[in-house]
Structure formats: structure tokens, C-alpha cells
Amino acid sequence: MNTSVLRVERLSKTFAGVLALDDVSIEVGPREVVGVLGENGAGKSTLLKVLAGLYRPDRGHIALRGRPVRLRSPRDASALGISMVFQEQSLLLNLNAAENIMLGHEDAALRAGFYDWKKLHALSVAQLAKLDSGISPSALAETLSFGERQMVELAKALTVEERTPHEPLLLLDEPTSMLNGDQAQAVLLAIERLRSRASTIFVSHRLDEVLRVCDRIYVFAQGRCVGQRNAGACTKVDLQDMVLGHVRPAEPGDRQRARQAPASASRVVLSVRDLTRAHHYRSVNFELRAGEVLGIAGAADSGRESVCRALFGAEPPDSGEIALDGRPVRFTEPADAVQRGMVTCRASAAPKVSWPACPWPKT
């Protein structure tokens, strides 16, 4: 690794007095996949946004392919072959996949100022082929699954390859955070495939993903780069310790006991019997006891949100019974639930919905 593609030296960035990046130095070799791990607020996204030209660093140097560069705008970064996939999905849902991939760079598909749709579709298929993805270019983005949309985002980022003479440097900000298992696997496969044509910085908080696709891993904590490991020479536990740093969890024994205590002793606060809503969920049964924390796990579209909406009165179930403190209830709107002391928080990483200020899931 004598000629690095990217060398970041002593980079710092402050937001309103808070050090988001504190003296960070990293290096990315040619066709290397470098992982960046860390908790929320560790500075991972800030680093990527500086490299994408969205933020300007306060101090520090960035060298690309041996030459010092200043990245003043996304355009600068893009001209140097840097391309970013954002954490929140950024496709225009009312356009088709091809338009999304080529958006802003349609020149090659224009004939005398008019779109040659065949050409545009062919160009986008060429990008998708790099990922070995068979998504139809004429499919509207809103009809694609989250996994497919992520593929389209990757394909869009890859257009930088044709636009610049450089081999691309891809910045992927938690590209799998919104995907379920299979979809995430497909995206990880695509990233592995890109090893033959690009260097990649892969930000994630999923340790096993990082261990799987990355060659080297930087660990960030509170704006600092606290360590570096070769992926082959470390384990999940090593990384976990580094990510958590000095903030050790409380004694495992204490937590165990705290969790066991309420389960059998306390009363049932909420019970759900045979809750069913056609096409969403079927015969859901569970009980929640006082003091308990109950998790509902499942992939997107598995019905987990739908059940919660039913509990909260935002979406009526077809049949079944919900009982609160032993008495059956049927909320017709969230206001009823609020009155009975229920509160919900929406998933924060959810895609944009029309009512940003609405605290409960409305349909």
C-alpha cells in the first residue's frame, strides 16, 4: 500500500463548539474496502460528508492519489471521482430507475436536446450491470423495494466512473441500515463485487457486516479515530470493546437479575388475543407485564409496525382483542390511546413521510 488513493491527515471539524471530528487521520489504498465503525455521533458521517464536499474541515489535509485537494462542493468531489451514497435514501420516487441513476448526467443520452430513452435506459443498465443487478430501468422508483432502491443508489454513485478519468472512491454511509437480512446481503455482495473497480469507505454500525466486507477497519469514538485493525486479524468482540471504549456496560449479573424480576411476579398490563388484519398480520398473541420491556422483531413489511398501529388505535384490526389492565379496549383514534396513557415514538430512520411533526403513526 505504497500509493494510497486517499490520505486524510489530522482532520478536524467543529459544529457550534462541539468537536465532530478531532484530529482524524485515515488512509485508503487502491481497491481497498475500509470500514468505519462507531456509535452514533462518533463522527463517521461527518468524515464522509467532508470527503463528499458537503462540509469544509476546520483543519487538516486531504490528499487524493498523492495530490493535496480542496473539496469545496459536491461538484469538486464528484469531478475527482468521489461519490457518496447517503444514509437516508435519496431517490426521486416519481421517476424511473434509469432517470434516477443518470439524473444530472443525461448528456450522453440526449440527441439534439431531446431524450433518447433507449439510450438512457441502456446507460443505466450498464451501471446496474456493474452490480450484477437486473432491476428494470423503466421501473418507477416507488415500486422498488428498499433493497432495490439501495442498488439504484449504488448504480447512481457509480456513474462517476464514466464521468471522470479516475477510479472511483465510494463513500457508503450505512447503506444497509434500512434493509432486512436478504436485502442487506445483496447490497454487501454488490460492495464485494465493486472491489474490482473502486476503493470504498463503508460506514456501518453492524460489526459482522464490517468484518465481512472490509479489508481494514477504523474505529471512531467521540470524533476521534481510536484504533485501526486488519479485518482478518480481529474478532467481533475486539471491535465491540473498541467501539464502546471505556464506557463498559454495567455488571452483566445486575442486568440479568433486573430483567428476570418482573416477568412472573407483576400483573399483565396489556394483552393481545388473536389480533388479525388481512394482508398485514394474523392471530397475534402476546402479553406485556408491568415493568417489562417487550421487543417485537421482524423484517420490514412483516407487520410489526402494523400491529403497533393497531395497539395505538391508528389502524383498526379486522378481529381479535386488545385488553388494557384486564379490560378490553378498542381505540378508534390515537387520541383515545393517549388518554389511556399510551405513547409512541416513530422509527427515526424511516423514509420521509408527509407529516414530519406527527408523533404517532398515522395512515
Partner: protein, 328 residues
């Protein structure tokens, strides 16, 4: 390669929202035809075509603005200003000018300018479009009143009058212009950057910016195009009645917005198109014409029109609900 994606227009992506207005128009025509057979004569067809011409021209321009998620309320003012302009540039009883047919070309320029100004002001100052264009409406109307000064100029240019009232074969000339404008609009929407970027901006302005699109430039262009067509509409209406008048566009702004919505173009932007809007405009005119035929009393016509608009918006928002639920 498989021709599956090779086709130029993705017909399978058309939904009820897009076909709905076409179907409604057909149903309406058949219904009126059954109730009153004289409605379905060729003669009445051309009458409707003639009355649709100007509304269709207006609606094509507004569609691009609405596709971006904005609104242009200055249409009536622009129509008035361009009406006065064209009437005073041709042979008339107020000025000594006589530009002949070329007056039409000059007369749309004020519309273009006001549209551009609308765009520049609202992008630079980041003011909501309806506020800026509401102001522009008054300004343009005020200028038209100054020009008119209480004496509407009467046009005496025989060529233009003959064009405005005349027909080519059986087809009213203005209807031919309207068809040309629709074709132009459709091509712009589907085959040019202007049209595609309007869709992109309506789909998500910030995302479009993030992709490096010059959003502000295309906003200015859309308002300029809308102003230009509003000007053309005003000028043609004047040519038809032979008078430059400040009230030439009275009621047209609301009618045009209604036509856009009835056609299925979402006021939130990003969905719909020129063809749908044109169908919306035709539908409203067919409705007005047909109600006269079947003898709906004039007092009730407004109410019927309102009910149609209401059901159209209900249908449109129904689809929105589904989509929001999909996205979660």
C-alpha cells in the same frame, strides 16, 4: 437486449389516476349524448373545441409550474396585460401602431417577462410561489388598466380578426393552435431536460439539488413558460373578441388550476402531466357545454361543477393515502 425496457413510453406505469380523467370525459360525453342527442353532433364538437382552445393553452403552461410543486396565480393579470398589448399594437382606435400579425409575437413578451420575474423573485427571496404570483397578478392587472385607461382598444386588423374567428376546414383556428401547444408541452415534458427536471423538482426539491440539478434555473424557466402561454391565451382571446380588455381573463385562473387538478396533476408536484391537464380543461368545458344542452338551470351549474371538482380531488387524495401507507 430484451425490448422489455426499450419501449419509449412505459404504458404499464399508467394508473387509474392517469386514465381516470380520460374515462370520466368519455362517460360524461356518452351521458350527455344519451340525455340530449344534439350534444353529440359534429357542429357542437367544433363549438366545444373552440371554447376549449384558450383554457387548454393556459393549462399546459401551468402544468409545468404545478409539476414542480409551485403555483402561478398571475394568469389573469398576465392575460389582461397581453390582451391590451396586442390590441394596441395592431391597427386599432387608440394608437397609431400597426404591426399586423407580428403583434401577436410581441404581445406575449410581457407574459414571458412577468413569468421570469416571478421565477427570479421567488427563487432569490425564497418566498412561496403563490404569494409572489398573487402580487404579480395585481401588478400586471394594474399595468393593463393603465394601458386601457377606461377605453378598451378595438382591434381593426382584418387578418387577425379573420384568424381568430375563422376555421381551417371545419376546425377552428384557435383549436389548432391549442393542439400544437399540447403537442409542444407533451414533448417538452417527456423528452427534454426542462420537462424531466420539472418532474424531479416536484418529486423532491432538495434531493434534486443534492443530485446537482440547477433547480432555481428550471424554476425560472417553468414560470417563464407559464407566463408566455398565459400571454398567448390572453392575446388569442382578444383576437377572437376583437377587443383589448382588462377582464379578458376573469375567472380563468381558478378554472385553470381546477383543470390541472381534475386532470390528475398533483398540487404537491411530481405527478401528472400535460396530456392529463389538457383533458381536465376539456372535461370542464364539456361539462359547461353539456349542462346547457340538458337544461341544467344556470344557477345550479356552478354547484355541479363544484361537485365534480370535489370528487376529482377525493379520487386524487385517495391514492395519496395508499402511497403514504406503502412508504410507512
Amino acid at each position: 437486449m430484451a425490448p422489455k425496457w426499450g419501449r419509449r413510453f412505459a404504458w404499464h406505469t399508467l394508473s387509474w389516476r392517469q386514465w381516470g380523467p380520460f374515462v370520466a370525459l368519455l362517460v360524461l360525453c356518452i351521458g350527455f349524448g344519451i340525455a340530449e342527442p344534439r350534444f353529440l353532433t359534429l357542429g357542437n364538437f367544433w363549438v366545444i373545441a373552440d371554447s376549449c382552445a384558450v383554457p387548454v393553452i393556459l393549462v399546459v403552461g401551468l402544468t409545468f409550474v404545478v409539476l414542480q410543486g409551485s403555483l402561478d396565480l398571475s394568469i389573469e393579470g398576465v392575460m389582461a396585460l397581453c390582451s391590451l398589448t396586442v390590441a394596441m399594437l395592431v391597427l386599432n382606435n387608440r394608437t397609431v401602431l400597426d404591426f399586423g400579425v407580428s403583434a401577436l409575437a410581441f404581445a406575449v413578451l410581457p407574459g414571458l417577462c412577468i413569468g421570469m420575474l416571478n421565477g427570479v423573485v421567488l427563487t432569490r427571496l425564497a418566498v412561496p410561489s403563490f404569494l409572489v404570483t398573487l402580487g404579480a397578478w395585481s401588478v400586471a392587472l394594474g399595468l393593463a388598466m393603465l394601458l386601457s385607461s377606461g377605453q378598451p382598444p378595438i382591434m381593426k386588423d382584418e387578418t387577425l380578426r379573420a384568424f381568430g374567428l375563422g376555421r381551417t376546414g371545419a376546425v377552428p383556428n384557435l383549436a389548432l393552435v391549442a393542439v400544437a401547444v399540447v403537442v409542444l408541452g407533451h414533448v417538452l415534458q417527456h423528452y427534454t431536460r426542462f420537462g424531466r427536471y420539472c418532474m424531479a423538482i416536484g418529486g423532491g426539491e432538495n434531493l434534486a439539488r443534492q443530485s446537482g440539478l440547477p433547480v432555481d434555473r428550471y424554476k425560472v424557466l417553468a414560470f417563464a413558460f407559464c407566463g408566455l402561454l398565459a400571454g398567448l391565451g390572453g392575446a388569442l382571446e382578444s383576437v377572437r373578441i376583437g377587443l383589448g380588455h382588462v377582464d379578458i381573463g376573469a375567472g380563468q385562473m381558478l378554472a385553470t388550476v381546477t383543470a390541472v387538478v381534475v386532470g390528475g396533476t398533483s398540487l404537491a408536484g411530481g405527478r401528472g402531466g400535460v396530456l392529463q391537464s389538457a383533458v381536465g380543461a376539456v372535461l370542464l368545458n364539456v361539462l359547461a357545454n353539456g349542462m346547457v344542452f340538458v337544461g341544467v338551470i344556470p344557477e345550479a351549474q356552478k354547484a355541479v361543477e363544484g361537485a365534480i371538482v370535489l370528487s376529482a380531488s377525493l379520487l386524487a387524495t385517495w391514492q395519496m393515502h395508499d402511497r403514504v401507507r406503502d412508504v410507512r
